[in-house]
């Protein structure tokens, strides 16, 4: 279809740039990281062994108070959620800043 007959919202889809919602990205990544630590920790707890999860235990070097136990999995979830949220929000912010700069540079409007 010729451009002059394109509805406004169609032009946005065809020519526009995707903008990330930093809060949502942060929340999603935080939840994912938190759940990964929570599940992997509890998986090792259920499997058992002596000692339980010596390699995962190394996370305690960064996450103070973390252990491969059920309580540790909750502490790990909180840490993972915090780090994931921060990282996701940062990715969103950096992406939007650079994309916005490039759009302005191209003389396009958001």
């Amino acid at each position: 279809m010729k451009g002059e007959f394109q509805p406004k919202n169609e032009k946005v889809i065809v020519h526009g740039v995707l903008w990330l919602n930093s809060k949502f990205i942060g929340f999603a990544l935080g939840l994912t990281c938190g759940l990964i630590i929570f599940i992997t920790t509890n998986w090792l707890v259920i499997k058992g062994g002596d000692p339980v999860g010596p390699n995962l235990q190394l996370l305690s070097q960064y996450f103070i108070g973390y252990r491969v136990s059920f309580l540790g999995s909750i502490i790990g979830f909180i840490y993972g959620f915090a780090v994931g949220t921060l990282s996701g929000a940062l990715i969103g912010w950096i992406y939007n800043s650079i994309a916005g700069f490039r759009v302005r540079l191209d003389g396009k409007s958001r």
């Binding site: 509805p7 919202n9 169609e10 889809i13 065809v14 940062l90 990715i91 950096i94």
Partner: protein
């Protein structure tokens, strides 16, 4: 009230609202005003209500002028129809087929049926042509011919679209602008297509295989409107042709019309016109600049005539109507009125058909004497194998001038010029198909009338937006917020991701994570600093848990994060683009299915 009293300005102190035309748009406007306690005056040139969707009655046989399905996405209109006719509104299961090369093809087109009817060789050629079209991107879409061929292949276009479209419009398809197709094919909206693909929100017309239809044809609906208007104190004057519209200081002040050959003048406070827009311009000739007159003269219309035949046969064919694509006959469409409603035919042993011929006023078909037209229609009915000539017991002809506004090369500019001129007249509004020179369906025409009436009552509707933007209708249904939300979500989801920005963002965050992790272990200290993290050196040559190593790790992870994120964004954009492309193509194919209904 008598016309003489009107002419003397005896309105009992009320505002005089004049509506020109008693078609669906004019009647809807009048009805809306009457519902609000205002009594408008309607002038109708002919002697009956309904305009192009009127119903003719001959010896107890009802003939619809073209076959009008009552089918709308607008709840308000659907409710209005129900309110007007209630139980007299029948639910009809639609059946219509295409007649081509002596065979009937299902319509909307069904691939298996079409391929069987066409035969193996032609089918293969069509499929090859279709595949070839799919491989051609960014081709020019200026004309209808290009538009269809680019999407579905030139062979399919020539088989199913060329002949009939040219019969209807009387011009080659390579002279019909693509925007006409775009307006006819509403499913073209990308947002609507995506919304439908993901959320299943659109009630596409094509899916509707049922429609409602008045027991005795559309005329029954319009007579019901007439009755309601007259009961509410409104007036409808038949055989009354508006000749001139007087104006002063950018306002309409009066209307001159003739009734039964007698001229009259009446004052007017508001005028709603559904008369053809070029005639409206002529009626305003005292204030019309020459460029506007030229623009009005530049607008053209397609007319058609219908030869109604009464046939002595209980059942002719099972369809409500047939599209005749075969080039060897002139007839374009055949209506079988009995299948619309059994009450259209008084004798169950008889049938009635409407043979529709698309033409231009004054051309060979248009000026052909009625007897010859009846003979032509009878012979073509026999030629198509639908009835024997001797079974035709009676026939009559109805000529409908200015049936379709033509979207030719210059119509857009001409219409814009006229619209700009009319916008300068505050208390004059144009409505309806011919009033706006827009290919409105019945429901859209009605909505323009309703909006015009509501504007007089103080609301603010842009009548020209009806049928221009489906979301306007959504707004009327108070669903604008939901529509806007879904549009915003779609825009957010389907826009292109900036690959570079995403790659830098992910690279930077990944790099920072490893950078901080390394520094954290250095700060913590210990006999052996970070023995496990230093294993990263197996992948990142030169890495160690030191400050220098932190920078080296940042560089490595930034690089790999950048690379993966860029690839991710690239693939995501590619998949989204492909999804959009397929969705749009499917929507177009889907919409094209019922294109002939919209011609």
């Amino acid at each position: 009230m008598e016309v003489e009293n009107l002419a003397n300005g005896k309105y009992e102190g009320k505002e005089a609202i004049v509506i020109i035309g008693a078609g669906p748009a004019g009647l809807s406007a009048a009805y809306d005003l009457v519902s609000c306690g205002i009594q408008p005056i309607v002038f109708e040139k002919s002697s009956t209500v309904g305009g192009i969707s009127r119903t003719e009655n001959r010896d107890g046989y009802y003939f619809d002028i073209g076959g009008h399905r009552f089918l709308s996405k607008i709840d308000y209109i659907n409710r209005l129809w129900q309110k007007m006719l209630g139980e007299n509104l029948l639910n009809v299961r639609r059946l219509s087929r295409i007649y081509y090369k002596g065979r009937f093809f299902n319509y909307p087109l069904v691939p298996s049926n079409a391929l069987i009817n066409l035969g193996p060789i032609e089918s293969v050629l069509i499929v090859l042509s279709y595949l070839r079209a799919q491989l051609q991107f960014n081709t020019e879409d200026t004309t209808f011919e290009q538009w269809v061929s680019n999407r579905f292949g030139s062979r399919l276009y020539k088989t199913f679209f060329k002949t009939y479209t040219e019969k209807v419009w009387g011009i080659p398809c390579n002279q019909i602008r693509a925007d006409w197709a775009a307006q006819r094919i509403k499913g073209l909206s990308l947002v609507a297509a995506l919304s439908n693909a993901i959320l299943r929100t659109q009630k596409a017309r094509t899916l509707v295989d049922q429609f409602v239809y008045p027991l005795q044809g559309p005329g029954m609906m319009w007579r019901s409107f007439q009755q309601a208007i007259e009961t509410g104190g409104g007036q409808i004057h038949f055989d009354s042709e508006v000749l001139e519209i007087g104006s002063e200081n950018g306002r309409v002040v009066g209307v001159s019309f003739s009734k039964n050959g007698q001229p009259y003048d009446i004052p007017a406070d508001h005028v709603i016109s559904s008369m053809p827009i070029n005639r409206l311009v002529r009626a305003l000739h005292r204030i019309t600049p020459s460029e506007v007159t030229d623009a009005a003269d530049g607008l053209s219309y397609r007319s058609f005539l219908i030869v109604n035949l009464i046939v002595r046969r209980k059942e002719l064919f099972k369809d409500q109507w047939i599209y005749v694509h075969s080039p060897e006959v002139l007839v374009g469409r055949i209506q079988n009125f009995k299948n619309w409603s059994a009450a259209m035919v008084p004798d169950p042993e008889m049938s009635s058909v409407g043979m529709e011929y698309f033409c231009n006023e004054g051309d060979e078909i248009w000026i052909m004497p009625d007897e010859q037209l009846i003979a032509l229609a009878t012979s073509e009915l026999e030629k198509l194998g639908l009835a024997q000539g001797r079974e035709v017991v009676n026939g009559f002809v109805v000529r409908q001038s200015q049936a379709y506004p033509v979207y030719d090369e210059g119509y857009k500019d001409n219409l814009q010029t006229i619209k700009h001129f009319l916008d300068g007249i505050q208390n004059l509004q144009t409505i309806g198909r011919n009033g706006m020179h827009r290919y409105n369906n019945m429901d859209h025409s009605m909505l323009t009338g309703i909006f015009a009436a509501k504007n007089i009552l103080g609301e603010q509707h842009d009548v020209w937006n009806v049928n221009e933007d489906e979301e306007y209708l959504e707004e009327y249904r108070e669903e604008r917020a939901a529509a806007a939300l879904s549009t915003e979500i779609l825009e957010t989801a389907f826009c292109r991701m900036d690959k570079l920005a995403f790659a830098v963002a992910v690279g930077a965050v990944s790099g920072l994570t490893v950078f901080i992790a390394t520094l954290w272990l250095i700060i913590k200290g210990g006999e052996v600093v970070g023995p496990h993290l230093s294993l990263l050196s197996q992948y990142f040559a030169g890495y160690s848990v030191t400050v220098k190593g932190a920078f080296i790790a940042f560089s490595y992870t930034f690089f790999w994060g950048f690379l993966f994120a860029w690839l991710f964004a690239y693939l995501r954009n590619l998949l989204v683009a492909y999804y959009i492309y397929r969705t749009k193509r499917k929507a177009e194919m889907f919409s094209l299915n019922d294109l002939f209904d919209r011609l």
